[in-house]
Structures are given as C-alpha cells and as structure tokens.
C-alpha cells in the first residue's frame, strides 16, 4: 500500500517528510509527500505525519549536496519554496530517479522524467518571481526612517530576496513584508537580515510615512508618466511585462499613501 507522508509547508517540514520516505526505502510509486491542509484524500493509502526536525532537514540537504551536487540542490531548494502542493513529491521523485542513473549529478538534465521536469519548472517559476520582485518591489520611508515594502508573492521568496537587498542596501534599515505568507525579512543597518513570522498586529505603523516620502512618490510618478513616448503607446506590451498583480504595491500605479 502507498504511504503518504504529511508535512508542513516549510523547507524543514518537506525535507523531514522526504527523510522519512527515504529511510523507509520506498520506491517512487509507493510513496508520496503531501502538505498538511492541502491533502487530496485518496483510498488505499497510509497517511503518516512526519515528525519534523532540523536534524532530518540537514541530513536531506547533505544527501542532495553529496549525490546530486550543489547545482541540483540550488534548483531543489527553489522548488521547495514554490506554491505548488506537489513540490515535495517532485523533489522526492527526482532524488529517487537520480539513484537509477549512472551519474546522479546530472539528474537535472533528465527533463523527460516527469518529476525532474516538475522540479525544473517550479524552480524556474520561483526564480522568475524573485527576479520580478527584485525590480518591482517598492520601499517607502516610514516616519522613523525605516524602509518598508509590502509584497504579495505566490511563492515563499523572502529568503531569495533578502540577500539581494542586503547586498544592495547594507547601510539602511529595511523590512520586507510578505503579506501572503505573513512573514517579514528584517534588516538592521550593518547587520545580517533575519526572517520573522507573524509580526506586529498594528498595521497602522506601516501607514505613517515620512514627510518627504510623499514628495518622492510624486516625483517618481511624474517621471514614469513623462518617460513614455506617446506615439509608441502600447498597453498590451506593458501588461505582458508588468502584470496587474504586481502593480498593487507599486508607487507609480497605486493610489494609497505608501
């Protein structure tokens, strides 16, 4: 009978589920990794709750690094941040498939294997969303000088975004608020960034912007409007590159104060 390992939607959770399945010596068709709260109940399956520990997660990371290599780990890590409920299963399937080929470090080239293809696709998707937000994210300056950004990503991209902004704005205090996943990346000038969950209940704090903030938003809006060449107007093309879902939090498109 097929065993379904149920785990939480975190890197630790998914890697722990994979650890249990791997330990049990399952074959691809005999096991599945599913996310708690996103289960499709199937008949004739055993459901096992994975016990989630950092130790298991570290062991799986080491296993992937050793047998599949750093490049594949990079792809897998990104895939695990995806919003797709089948991601854990795709990763496990890829690891199992790697056992079957002579050079397991080349597993990501086997795109004709459906699980490998899935990991590849998820990773591309997460990577793409991260790249989009590197450009489309907007900070506003709060009263206390902190730069604050709100994003609503589909995937859990904060750990991919934070290093980028830490390298770019090392002397600033900034905070990126992932509204979808209720998480924050917080950076204090000159220090390492950290991830915080939940966060302050008082959303009002984020609405109190500094005096000059409004002026810079106005300048920026003016710039974006003026830079377009009228005789080349092309809203379809603009839409293709900058879908509406990003615009909600972009100063040049939205009307709220931050």
């Amino acid at each position: 009978m097929k065993t379904v390992y149920v785990c939480s939607d975190t890197v630790t959770g998914i890697f722990s589920g994979i650890y249990d399945a791997w330990k049990a010596g399952k074959r691809e068709e005999d096991c599945e990794i599913a996310l708690r709260g996103q289960l499709e109940q199937q008949l004739f399956c055993d459901y096992v709750e994975a016990e989630e520990t950092e130790h298991k997660a570290a062991a799986v990371e080491a296993l992937i690094m050793k047998h599949l290599g750093a490049k594949a780990y990079h792809d897998i890590y990104h895939a695990v941040l995806s919003s797709d409920p089948k991601k854990g299963d795709a990763v496990l399937g890829t690891m199992l498939a790697a056992k079957e080929i002579p050079d397991s470090t080349r597993i990501m080239e086997h795109l004709s294997h459906p699980k490998v293809e899935k990991v590849f696709e998820l990773c591309r998707n997460v990577f793409g969303e991260t790249h989009s937000y590197k450009g489309f994210l907007r900070f506003c300056e709060l009263e206390n000088g902190v730069l604050y950004a709100r994003i609503e990503p589909k995937n859990q991209i904060l750990t991919c975004l934070a290093p980028h902004f830490a390298a770019r704005l090392p002397v600033e205090n900034w905070m990126i608020h992932d509204v979808t996943h209720k998480t924050f990346a917080v950076h204090e000038a000159g220090k390492q960034w950290v991830i915080a969950f939940g966060g302050p209940a008082d959303e009002e704090v984020f609405k109190r912007v500094s005096d000059r903030e409004k002026e810079y938003v106005r300048l920026w809006r003016g710039f974006c409007k003026t830079i377009a060449i009228e005789s080349r107007t092309n809203p379809r093309c603009q839409m293709q590159h900058l879908p509406l879902r990003y615009r909600r939090e972009m100063a040049e498109f939205c009307n709220n104060s931050h």
């Binding site: 795109l111 300056e141 704005l169 600033e172 603009q238 972009m250």
Partner: protein
C-alpha cells in the same frame, strides 16, 4: 530662447525627462558588483527592470538630461537650439539626491545621464563629471551609471568620466556620414568616432591593468554602446546592419541600439509626416537581426543583399533566411551541430543548448523538443527527429510560407489591421530575450 527662473524640482524633472526619453537604451546589464558595505548600490549581470512605461518599454534607470540647453541644431531633436522650449538644468547635487532617493526606494537600478551641450562640449562634460564624482565619492553610490560622452570634449575628460561610469555611449545618431551632414550639421562622423575609439582603447588597456593589479580601478566595465535613428534618412536595412556589424567588429561595442524616428520637429530636411507613427516594426526587425549577428553567428551579408536590402514584414530575419536557404534543411536534431541548430526557426538560444545536453542522454523525439521549449509549429518544416519529419512536408518556399502564415505567424494581424503602431514588440516564448527582443 526661454529661460525660466525658479522652476520646482517637479517641473525640472519633468522637462529633463521629457527631453531624454527618445534615447532608447535603458539597460542596466553587463556588470556585477556588490556594495562594499559603506554605501548603497549593487549591480546584477543580467540587469533588472523596475517598471514598464505606457509605451511598453522597460524603466531601469533614472534617464534624464543634465540640461536641455543646447548650442547645436540637430534637426531631429527636441532640444535643438532653434526650438522654442523651456530650458533648465540640474545642479550636480540635485542629480545625486534624485538618484539616491529613487534608488533607496528601489525605483531604479541606477542613473542614465545624458545632456544637451551647454556653452561647449568641455563645459558640459565638466558639469557631468562633477555630478558623477559627487555621486560616487561623496554619496557613495555603487549602483549602475550609464553616461553619454559628448563628441568634441577633451580626451582627458572622457577618460576621467569612464572611471566613474559602468557604461559609456557616444551616439552615432545616423547610419552614414551624408545623413549626419544633412540632419546634424554641427556634428561630424570623425567627431563621433574619435571618442568611441578612445573608450575602446582605454578599455583594452584597463583589462591589462586589471590582470596585473586585481584592484585597479575599472574603466567602463559594462562596455560601450551607441544608438542610431532609423527612418529619418534613406538608408536600407542592409546598410544599417552592415554599419552595426562593423561597429561590433571594429569598435568592440557591447550594444548598438536602434531608435525608430519620432517626429518632434517640422523641418524640410526630415521625411514628411505620414500618420503611421514611428517605424516600430522596422526597428524590431533590426533588433532581431542584431541578435543574429551577436549571438547566432550570422553575418550581415547572409541576412540581406544589395538586391534584397530590406527585411520582410511578415517573417523575422532568421525565418526569412531559412526560407531562402531551404537547401540546408531539414536538419537532424539528434546530430546537427550547435551552430546549425541555432539557425533553425523555432529553436532559440536556450533550446539549442538544452537539445545538445539532452541528446547525449538518449535520442530526442518531437515530444521531447516541445518540453525543451522548441516552437514546433515553426520548427517542424526544418527538422527531422531520427530521420523523420513531424508531418510530410514539401521543401518548397511557397508551400512553407503559406503554412507558416496559416499557423498564425505572429505579425500579420497587426500588420493588416492596425498598422505598425499597435504592434507588440515583444514576442513571447522561449527564445533568448533581452530588452524584450526575442529570436527563435
């Protein structure tokens, strides 16, 4: 000439953005750098788009003129001396502050500073230098800077500037010396090529310096670019891509940009207004051809000839080439050389790499190609998998042309219904894209 005192920052920015917008380049690619921890700013190799304006172009840099005053009178330019427009200039500090404050808010990747010519080329370059110097040394800005070198300025000045900028460009303006004479009477070809050569030579020296001393300062690390206006003068596409090819070969330019001529002035020397808007499709075809020159190992004279000097409205330059060279097709995907794969319509840069990797692990069929990202509805006329074509096909130009058009080649609808104006310059898919230019 109108000079207005005490313009607000908002008005200044508006005027100096409006005057800068016809410059096409807005890329922030070509160099990668992390902040050293003391200031703000970093660069990503691939560049980052921060927004898209209503014309669908990427906004990556704060693209402004230092001043829109100008002693020259180029006929195609809004800022020319003889135009009656409000004139204004930034101060170096204003440029710095705008850049810093926009950058912190993640509005931009950096600054693109160009300028009209105030008093003299040297005088203007000094001002630009002062702005960049302050931005780099006092404000400690480590993001991307693209700066225009002004023809006729002292080599000394251009050199100093190059150590502060990531990219430098000197505009070629128009494809030939005659056209330049006709439309930009104060400029000469020689005046433009001299600083271009200077930057090239200095870059070569700098590469050696860096080999010797790893920490030597970098000179224009993201390379040199240029741009020319398309459609203001009678050159053919063939002439234009030959010019581009020689700029790549002889001046080692990183990019040549093409700017569809936009009517801003009424002048007898300019082509008459037609109501069709700027020649966007032509500009697009030139960008595609430019791609083929740089990344697909095509030469200008393969793409066009004296007898057939302009690109096809219906097909991109690669497809056009393939239709004229059917004797080279079909190619066997499982064996063909990488460079041959690149020449197949429907197979982009990335797909070709993936094919070469994947076929080492077993032979590929049409389903595999689809997964890899090959656009089969175009490629199917030009390839075989294990000796078989996807459908029986006659290797006949008319037949394939008709079928490609029938299969919904992307352009005809726009060409027939709306003219070039509404044309989307951005064909999606898996080809290699840069500033939205795709070749498959």
């Amino acid at each position: 000439m109108r000079i207005q005192e005490a313009l607000s920052m908002y008005d200044k920015l508006n005027i100096l953005t409006d005057a800068a917008k016809y410059d096409v380049a807005c890329t922030s690619s070509g160099t990668s750098r992390k902040s050293d921890g003391t200031g703000i700013g970093s660069c990503e190799q691939s560049g980052i788009c921060h927004s898209f304006s209503a014309d669908g172009r990427c906004i990556s840099l704060l693209k402004i003129l230092f001043t829109n005053e100008c002693i020259y009178d180029c006929k195609y330019c809004v800022n020319r001396r003889s135009n009656d427009v409000v004139r204004t200039s930034f101060s170096p500090d204003e440029v710095c502050e705008l850049t810093m404050e926009f950058y912190r808010r993640n509005y931009i990747e950096g600054l693109f500073l160009s300028s009209g010519i105030l008093k003299s080329p040297n005088y203007t370059m000094e001002l630009i230098y002062a702005a960049l110097y302050r931005l780099r040394r006092e404000y400690n800005f480590q993001g991307y800077i693209h700066v225009k070198a002004i023809p006729g300025a002292d080599p000394e000045l251009i050199q100093k500037l190059g150590f502060l900028a990531d990219r430098m460009s000197v505009n070629l303006e128009l494809p030939t010396a005659e056209s330049l004479k006709a439309l930009a009477p104060n400029k000469t070809r020689k005046n433009i090529l001299t600083p271009m050569r200077l930057v090239q030579n200095r870059m070569t020296e700098n590469r050696q310096e860096i080999q010797l001393y790893r920490n030597a300062p970098r000179f224009v690390p993201a390379g040199q670019s240029t741009q020319m206006i398309i459609g203001a003068t009678p050159e053919t596409d063939y002439q234009i891509i030959q010019v581009a090819e020689s700029l790549y070969q002889k001046f080692e330019l990183k990019r040549v940009f093409y700017s569809a001529f936009v009517h801003v002035n009424d002048d007898a020397a300019l082509p008459a207004k037609t109501g069709e808007g700027p020649p966007l499709l032509r500009e697009h075809r030139l960008y595609q051809a430019d791609w083929l020159l740089r990344y697909y190992h095509f030469r200008a004279e393969e793409l066009l000839t004296e007898e057939n000097p302009n690109f096809n409205v219906l097909f991109d330059p690669k497809c056009n080439w393939a239709l004229k060279h059917l004797e080279e097709f079909p190619v066997e995907v499982n064996r063909a050389d990488y460079k041959i794969l690149l020449r197949v319509p429907g197979i982009g840069y990335k797909s070709a790499v993936r094919i070469v990797k994947a076929r080492r692990l077993g032979s590929l069929d049409f389903t595999d190609l689809k997964k890899i990202g090959v656009v089969l509805k175009r490629a199917l006329y030009f390839i075989t998998c294990n000796g078989r074509m996807m459908y029986p096909t006659r290797m006949d130009e008319d037949y394939i042309t008709r079928n490609l058009l029938y299969a919904g080649e992307k352009l005809p609808r726009e060409v027939t219904e709306m003219g070039y104006r509404q044309l989307s310059l951005f064909e999606g898919g898996n080809g290699y894209c840069e500033d939205g230019i795709c070749v498959q």
